[in-house]
Amino acid sequence: MFKHYLIYVIFFITVGFASPTLGCDTSKNCIQEGEWDVGLALGVGLRTNPLVDGDNFPNLILIDIAWYGERFYFDNGEVGYQWQQSTNFGVESYLTLDREKTFFELWHPGNLTVPAVIPSSPSVDSPDKGSGDDPPPEDLRLSVNEISDRNWAINFGTRLHYYYGNHEISFSIETDASNVHHGQKANLSYQYFWASDDWQFILRPSLIWKSAKLANYYYGINEKDTIEPNFHYSVSSGIQPGISFLYTKKINEQWHWVSNLAFRKLHSSMVKSPIVEENNVTNVFLGVGRRF
């Protein structure tokens, strides 16, 4: 753990030189410094859950809440400090909740349900007792309701931005700061931001890399989850490509349309886990929102 922090410190010294924070014109993704910006949107939508017996999450309410000071900021659950924010370059460090847990927690019926996917196929008794590295046969699926709890993790990360006109390239790297999964996560994304007085459009393709420790903590199966060795499986690291669209259009001074679509493909080692039955997470929302 100390090694990871040392890497971050060196990283800051290298790139995190102080510089004044510059302003932001309205053609960009701006917020009033020193004031809370709270947005609430009501609508219809869905976030799929790739886990076996994992309930899809209905997106009926979308909250957008942010506060930016001269250096510190809060942005939708992320607390950070901006080392630099200039016209073309930005660096910040932050603490953020690892959202991996949401597939296990939200709308999760817990231990009240009966054992779900008890394998009925003969493969349960096959001689290939789970070595942990080879994926279980595809018909071996284990309900998320039957495995041990996964904990929330808090990640510490640093993000770099390069801005050029309406384009932005960002790279972030996060490590577990809460001793939960001891893993890391990196995100390389490109963003195109297009806005006028009445509407804004954001297109954001990205690649997320998840380390083996992170992926295995949440999606790996071991003796804590089930004593049945056929289910035991270790998830390796992998890259998950994704893309998201955001379009908002002003209805009047207070209200505007909010439409949001996001898609992420899960890496193959994760999809082969007995608790994962879908190879992607899709997130859709369409509604009306207002800012307070």
Partner: protein
């Protein structure tokens, strides 16, 4: 002889000074001037556009053709010389209003400032708004 020349030069100097002092106030009082109001525009936030109606009172402006310029941008022209005129102006940062004659020479100028009520600035968010993931 030398002493006399010095005395003569001194007399001429005092006479010249006296003539200038007698003439300049008259010349100044005859030069065109204007009084422009308001001088400052108050906006909610820095970067907001200010739109306001300016009222100009002219003094000693000779009849002729004149044009208003905001910086290098021509606004409108007129040919009479009324004592009072109005003009709608828009700007987002300090700007200068010029009155130019028909040949383009600057007759009068007036700089207008812009102040923000909130004295706060817009900063760039580092994350996408309404983010789903």
């Amino acid at each position: 002889m030398k002493h006399l020349e010095s005395k003569t030069i001194l007399i001429y100097f005092f006479m010249l000074t006296f003539m200038l002092l007698a003439y300049l106030p008259k010349a100044w009082s005859n030069s065109p001037s204007w009084h422009v109001q308001p001088k400052v525009c108050i906006v909610e936030n820095l970067g907001d556009t200010c739109e306001m109606v300016l009222t100009m009172h002219f003094k000693n402006l000779a009849p002729g053709a004149y044009c208003y310029y905001q910086g290098q941008t021509p606004l409108n022209c007129w040919t009479d010389a009324p004592p009072e005129k109005t003009l709608v102006i828009r700007f987002i940062e300090e700007t200068t209003l010029y009155l130019k004659s028909q040949d383009g020479s600057v007759i009068l100028s007036h700089t207008m400032d812009i102040k923000a009520r909130a004295n706060k600035k817009q900063v760039r968010r580092v994350r996408q708004p309404w983010s789903l993931f």
